[in-house]
Symmetry: C3
Subunit: 116 residues, 3 copies
């Protein structure tokens, strides 16, 4: 597997408790990313935060420990990222959850497939 120098960083901000048919949305996204042949995906869990619902449901803004904000990070070539977007859209539609998806430019300096 190779990533060329001109790549993109896809970042998905969602909630830990967002589910689609009882499966966490973040798990669905990681599994779909693997299925789509993307170079990698990593999920990070926040310790505090608020999201899109802040203006509507103020009581839920500061989330409890089982509903922490998450970021999923995926780095790959722009073509692969773009191909993945409709799959991501489908997951969000089915889950009917909120979320923020951003894309940033990232130069890939080195990419070594893990040997083990």
């Amino acid at each position: 597997m190779q990533i060329k120098g001109d790549a993109k960083l896809l970042r998905i901000f969602i909630g830990e408790s967002d589910k689609s048919h009882s499966i966490p949305v973040y798990e669905k996204i990681v599994l779909e990313a693997r299925k789509s042949g993307l170079a990698g995906a990593t999920v990070f869990k926040g310790i505090m935060g608020f999201g899109g619902s802040s203006r509507i449901h103020t009581a839920k803004i500061l989330r409890l420990s089982e509903d922490m904000p998450l970021i999923i990070e995926i780095v790959d070539e722009i073509d692969k990222i773009e191909k993945f977007m409709p799959e991501l859209d489908k997951i969000f539609e089915k889950a009917n959850c909120g979320g923020l998806i951003t894309i940033e430019k990232a130069d890939v300096i080195k990419y070594v497939s893990q040997k083990k």
Copy 2:
């Protein structure tokens, strides 16, 4: 709430133990971000790191478990981020703590307010 395509990612690197009048600085920043109507803020906790004091106080460089490095991430339109900066400055001045604030370009692909 809407974020247009051309947004910014504000990232604030501070320490978990940085406090302002006994309240953690990261809590102050998240609460202020919410008050300022920003689209969201998320705090991530590192497992190891060193910061600005590395050259001066070498013994404290590798922080213990209650003083881990944190990143606060805020994505919103450039106007809202810029409006927030003076508030952030005030928090840092009152806390008299160190920190690194960076801004990156981020294209917002999708933004869905959470329904719950």
Copy 3:
């Protein structure tokens, strides 16, 4: 210490269990970053993910709790980041592990050395 406005964000994606002579690679990178006089380094631990080995060893894609994906983040001036790259290369060569290294542009808005 000063970081000028035009800086770079170096991000290193590796595995928690990647070791070089029984020392975790992420520890080596943080210590080397400090030795090289970089402004700071922070390690974040993911809760789920897959990396470069996904196509080869499918059974190991979703890693267990002691081999979680990590990101190391380093912000500094481009010159210092570039000087650090050969050191980083050496660490990866010795460890013989996989990994992804990206560089992004980041504007440093504020940088205050920690006083304590």
